[in-house]
Assembly symmetry: C2
């Protein structure tokens, strides 16, 4: 999916995703050098609708989209996590940041991250965090420009031995 | 707080923390080369009781402790996060892993992490993840031995400009 005209960031809107957006969200998730091997056959797979409903029904989760001209051009998944450490600080965890591959390097991702940070601040979060695959070196420079510091190692462990994620 | 006898890992029990554990949890959080500068004056600060209640009241959060002989010797904070990516996979996020500084390198931390992974598997999580400050090089080897891969960069951004965390 591409737009006929260049994207004007000032015309972007940020909103919560609805179930109607699900096919487009899955397209964005799969439109990625790493994600294309992780995602399934498409929106007809009921696991995705179940997952969407679970996220939408949880007050600490927000699936956000950036939209312009009625077209969703980017997404991310924001999670608010309460904590005991750092004097009881809430933190905002950001996952699944995706921008339409035809529309990258135009400021859309930066804009959507800043929308998420503002929402997190409004919820009282004192820290925003995300992990980025070490293969995504361009993304690392991007997050650095947005004020994120690569201060931590991000460890993952697949714990479902029946899965191939 | 130290134990009179060596810790027998086979005698450890894993349980959810209760409000009565809060002073001990704060002691463990502060008993850390990085945490000592981040945490406050102690359990009398009401922000911690509020934070504890918030965590305890959220079905996707578990503050776990390892206990032996009636003494809490380790803790961690486990969060279950629903997701759309990776075919709607839930993931388990682990924060605030602490072992009594007098009792490290005895297998307590490994044991507690494995308890958390088992709980996460029972909840259907397909991935466990955590970040570890790049200064904690010993911890990185520890997580490597537990099957975690440092595949990601862990980015953090302080978003509360009034805070000094």
């Amino acid at each position: 999916m591409t737009l006929a005209a260049p994207v004007d960031v000032s015309l972007l809107i940020c909103r919560r995703a609805t179930l109607n957006d699900l096919p487009r969200l899955l397209q964005l998730l799969a439109d990625d050098v790493l994600g294309k091997n992780r995602e399934g056959v498409g929106s007809s797979d009921p696991v995705y609708a179940v997952a969407f409903d679970t996220i939408a029904g949880d007050g600490n989760q927000q699936l956000l989209v950036a939209e312009t001209g009625g077209i969703v051009v980017a997404m991310l998944h924001l999670t608010f996590i309460p904590g005991l450490s750092r004097r009881g600080a809430w933190r905002a965890n950001i996952e699944s940041v995706r921008v339409d591959s035809a529309l990258r390097s135009r400021g859309i991702g930066s804009w959507l991250i800043e929308q998420a940070v503002t929402l997190a601040q409004e919820r009282g979060c004192r820290l925003a965090q995300l992990t980025s695959d070490k293969q995504r070196t361009q993304a690392h420079a991007f997050y650095g420009r947005l004020g994120f510091t690569a201060s931590h190692e991000g460890f993952k462990r697949v714990i479902d031995t029946n899965s191939n994620i």
